[in-house]
Structures are given as structure tokens and as C-alpha cells.
């Protein structure tokens, strides 16, 4: 256990001393997952809100499907995106396999159902609350989507964070479509997988601690912003 402790200390000091290589990996992880979450929000939130207010046959089934897709296995998503982006696949000409863009695409597929499902839930409750007002103003169901999304914005931050948590912690998809290429597509989770396979368990664990710390920091930051927005909202109201 002596060597375990010293290896662990070594990994922590790499971070504290701002080891350039490790920081590049951390930044790439953040870049990929933040972009993936933003794109997922752009796609998933309007879809979720529309599903919350629209009434059509098959709506219930669609909601069940969307909720189920929140649990998509990352390795299956990775495989599907690989098959699409491979040079033998339909999108092979784009030459996106083994790039950060490929990793963003895989994470968008994973996170969009989470965005849509959570948004649907939040907006549906809000729509019930506002239904009389909206009807008296003569706003159609679908036209009320932007208003409802805007009003639900603070609650939707939770959806963003849930999506970010899924994206940043995921390894199965990004290791297939990114290839874990050093300096190009190596992120926190794939580095942890690599160090584990080298038997450098302490290093892997230390990187895991950093990953958790990163998730806590992002959540704390967003929570602080939300709190401030809430207070300001109260003051203006």
C-alpha cells in the first residue's frame, strides 16, 4: 500500500502543479461535454416542451419511449455512431471518426433524451398551472412553448446538470468513436480506463477523484448562478 499512497500523491501533485498534459485532458473533457450538453438542450428542450403541451395520438407512447431512452447504453450508442462515421459507413465522407466532434455527436445522442424527458416533465406541470391564462390570451398550445420554456428556465438548469453529469462521466461511447488518441481524443474517463489497464490503479483513482471534483465544481457554479437569478427574480417581482 506504500506505493499506492505515493502513486496517489504523485497524481494529485500533477494536478496541483498544473501538469500541462493532464490539464489538456481535463479541458478537452469539459469542451466535449459542455458542447454536447448545449447542443442536446437546443434539440431536446423544444421537443420536450412541445411534447408537454401538444395533444396527438401516440403521445403517451412517445413519452414512454423518450423516458426509456434516458437509459441508452453508452457502448451501444458508441457502436452506432461508429458505424455511421466509419469510412465504410454512410457518413464516412465527413472524416469525423476519431475526432472530438465524433465524441460530441455520441454524447448528444446520449444526453438529448434526458433533456427532452426532463423538460417535458417540468413544462407539463407549468402548462397546467398557466393553462387558463394562456387560453384567455388566445395563445395556441405550440405558440406557448417559448414562453413556458423561458418561465421554466431555473428548473431546466437541473436538466442541464443531469445531462452534463451523464456526458462527463461516460466512457463506453467516447472510447469507441474517439479512439482514446493521445493529445487528440483522450479525455478524463478514457485516461482512467487506460491507466487501469496499465495496472496503475492509484493513478486511475486519483484521476477519478479529479473527475468527481470537476463535477462538484460545475454543479456548485451553476447552483450559485441559479440562486442569484432566483433572488434577482424575487427582487424584480
Amino acid at each position: 500500500m506504500q506505493s499506492f499512497a505515493s502513486e496517489f500523491n504523485q497524481a494529485i501533485s500533477l494536478i496541483l502543479n498544473g501538469d500541462a498534459e493532464l490539464w489538456a485532458i481535463v479541458l478537452l473533457s469539459l469542451r466535449v461535454s459542455v458542447f454536447a450538453v448545449l447542443i442536446s438542450a437546443v434539440i431536446g428542450m423544444p421537443v420536450g416542451a412541445a411534447l408537454a403541451v401538444a395533444r396527438f395520438p401516440g403521445r403517451r407512447a412517445l413519452i414512454i419511449l423518450m423516458n426509456a431512452l434516458m437509459g441508452l447504453p453508452p457502448v451501444v450508442v458508441g457502436l452506432l455512431v461508429y458505424l455511421m462515421l466509419s469510412r465504410s459507413g454512410p457518413l464516412g465522407v465527413l472524416e469525423l471518426l476519431y475526432t472530438p466532434t465524433a465524441m460530441i455527436i455520441a454524447q448528444v445522442v446520449l444526453v438529448t433524451p434526458i433533456m427532452a424527458a426532463l423538460t417535458r416533465q417540468v413544462v407539463e406541470m407549468l402548462a397546467e398551472e398557466y393553462s387558463e391564462q394562456l387560453r384567455s390570451l388566445g395563445v395556441s398550445r405550440l405558440a406557448s412553448v417559448p414562453v413556458l420554456l423561458w418561465d421554466a428556465r431555473l428548473a431546466l438548469v437541473t436538466a442541464l446538470l443531469a445531462g452534463f453529469g451523464r456526458a462527463i462521466a461516460e466512457v463506453g461511447a467516447v472510447i469507441i468513436v474517439g479512439g482514446n488518441i493521445n493529445h487528440v481524443t483522450r479525455v478524463m474517463t478514457t485516461t482512467i480506463a487506460l491507466e487501469t489497464s496499465k495496472g496503475n490503479l492509484a493513478m486511475a483513482l486519483a484521476l477519478g477523484v479529479i473527475l468527481i471534483g470537476l463535477a462538484v465544481a460545475v454543479n456548485a457554479m451553476v447552483s450559485a448562478l441559479t440562486l442569484r437569478a432566483e433572488r434577482e427574480g424575487l427582487r424584480h417581482a
Partner: protein
């Protein structure tokens, strides 16, 4: 809120697309975990990159998966270790030509207590037969990798079909070399590994090398350019430059000089 998202996303996509356009020339090498985990590629590639300005991007997976990825055209160069599968790859037209690069050897590692009493053996076939009859746990890669193919070749010579015992003493991990070594280390099992991965492996636990030196445990690595006639996007010129360097004097010298803990890891033998 929504316009902000859209703007950020457009910027994001623009940045990633821009970045990949502005990059220097690169090739993708489909290779095996042993060349990466041993640190060999990290050691030799900077020399090639400095000389040519070509960035070498390594995807390290098992030999079986590397070959399948190369068949799909998702790589420019294949650097793996299963000669018959490599020759098949070329014969089927997926690769241009196969060149020997280097070799190391396989070793059988196992618990110090050695219940099958194989320590010091130099006959891998007899040693595996002894492991089978002792029913001591044995971890197999079980993933169609170069090491797995070698292991299956040895079993074929013994009269034992270990897959019949799968789930009892014979455990098929279906995982990479490192992950399989972690499993063997955890359960004190016998396992066949290449020497380079073993020497660079950090979680040996109670395991040690028990059987080595059988000429049949020779482990040859080969390099092949993916056939540009099959996949027009293959970066053939840069890929061929890399192969020429690897089997030329500079590459061979770089391989020869790579040591870990004072031990040479790979032995260059290009002709």
C-alpha cells in the same frame, strides 16, 4: 436563453471544424494495446513526427478489432501481432503488403504458490496441460486479440479444449491485456501475456513469470498499409512514409533503444 444556446453551439461546431481543418497532416494507426501500454509508441513516435511533420494518431485495441477497424477503412496503417491474420488481411486485398517490424515473446504468469507446478518449465504446451489438469484458475483474453489467438494455438496442440471448462477454472475475460491482467491478479490465476505489457504492468499482486523461453512463444509484430484501392480516403503517402521509417534504420534503432527498468522491450527484425 435559447438564442444563447444556439449561438454557443454554432461557435462550438465552428471551433471544432476549424480546428480539424487547420491541423498538420496526420495518419491513424490501428494498433494493439501492447505497443501503447508498454510505452513503446510514446517513445519512438516523436522522432518520426519531428522528422516528417506527420502526426501519428494511435488507436490501441486488440489485434482482432484493429484488423476489423482497418477493413472498415478506419485507419491508414495496421501495426499488430498475429502473422496469419495479417497475411489473410493482405490476401483478401485489404492491405497492400506486410512487413516484419519487431518481436518480443509471450510469457505464462501465475501465482507464486503455483498449484500446477509449472515454474521453470520451458515447454508452454506441457505447462498449459498441467494447468488444465490441476484445474487452477486460468484467465483467457477471450477477445480474438493476437495474444488470444496465440493462446488458442497452444491449446490446440494440447489435447485439452479449455472452452468446455469456460466459467469454471477457465475464465474468458473478453477484455484487453491490462484488464485481463487485473482480473488474473485479483483471483491469483494463470494468464498468458506478452512480456512488454507484463513488464510495464503496475498491479502484479502475487503473480510472477513462471514459464518463458519456449521458441513457440515468439511474438512477431507486422506493419501493413491499408489498401487505398479499397478505401480511397486512406492517407497512403504519409502512411507509407511511416512504414518506411519504422522498418528503416531510424525506426529500428528507436525500437532497439527503448528500455523499461533496464530491460529491452522489443527486438527489431525488419529485413
Amino acid at each position: 436563453m435559447i438564442p444563447d444556446f444556439i449561438r454557443a453551439s454554432i461557435v462550438a461546431l465552428g471551433l471544432t471544424a476549424g480546428a480539424s481543418l487547420a491541423e498538420e497532416p496526420f495518419i491513424i494507426v490501428q494498433s494493439t494495446t501492447s505497443t501503447q501500454n508498454s510505452g513503446l509508441l510514446d517513445y519512438i513516435l516523436p522522432g518520426f513526427e519531428a522528422e516528417t511533420g506527420i502526426d501519428v494518431r494511435v488507436v490501441a485495441v486488440g489485434t482482432g478489432q484493429a484488423i476489423r477497424n482497418a477493413i472498415n477503412g478506419d485507419g491508414d496503417v495496421l501495426l499488430v501481432h498475429s502473422k496469419s491474420a495479417e497475411e489473410q488481411f493482405v490476401a483478401d486485398g485489404w492491405g497492400v503488403e506486410r512487413f516484419d517490424v519487431m518481436y518480443n515473446d509471450f510469457v505464462l504468469v501465475g501465482p507464486k504458490s503455483d498449484p500446477a507446478e509449472v515454474k521453470g518449465d520451458t515447454d508452454i504446451i506441457a505447462a498449459l496441460a498441467a494447468v488444465a489438469s490441476s484445474k487452477a484458475p486460468f484467465v483467457s483474453r477471450g477477445d480474438d486479440s493476437g495474444t488470444h489467438k496465440a493462446e488458442m494455438r497452444y491449446w490446440q496442440v494440447t489435447d485439452v479444449d479449455p472452452t468446455v471448462a469456460s466459467g469454471t477454472w477457465y475464465r474468458e475475460a473478453g477484455a484487453g491485456m491490462g484488464a485481463s491482467l487485473n482480473i488474473a491478479s485479483g483471483m491469483g490465476a494463470y494468464i498468458l501475456t506478452d512480456r512488454a505489457t507484463w513488464l510495464s504492468f503496475g498491479n502484479r499482486g502475487d503473480l510472477e513469470i513462471l514459464v518463458e523461453g519456449d521458441p513457440r512463444m515468439f511474438n512477431q509484430y507486422g506493419v501493413i498499409l491499408v489498401n487505398p484501392e479499397k478505401h480511397s480516403k486512406v492517407r497512403a503517402t504519409s502512411g507509407q512514409r511511416f512504414i518506411d521509417w519504422l522498418i528503416g534504420a531510424d525506426g529500428q534503432a528507436a525500437i532497439e533503444s527503448y528500455e523499461l527498468d533496464g530491460q529491452q522491450m522489443f527486438f527489431p527484425n525488419a529485413r
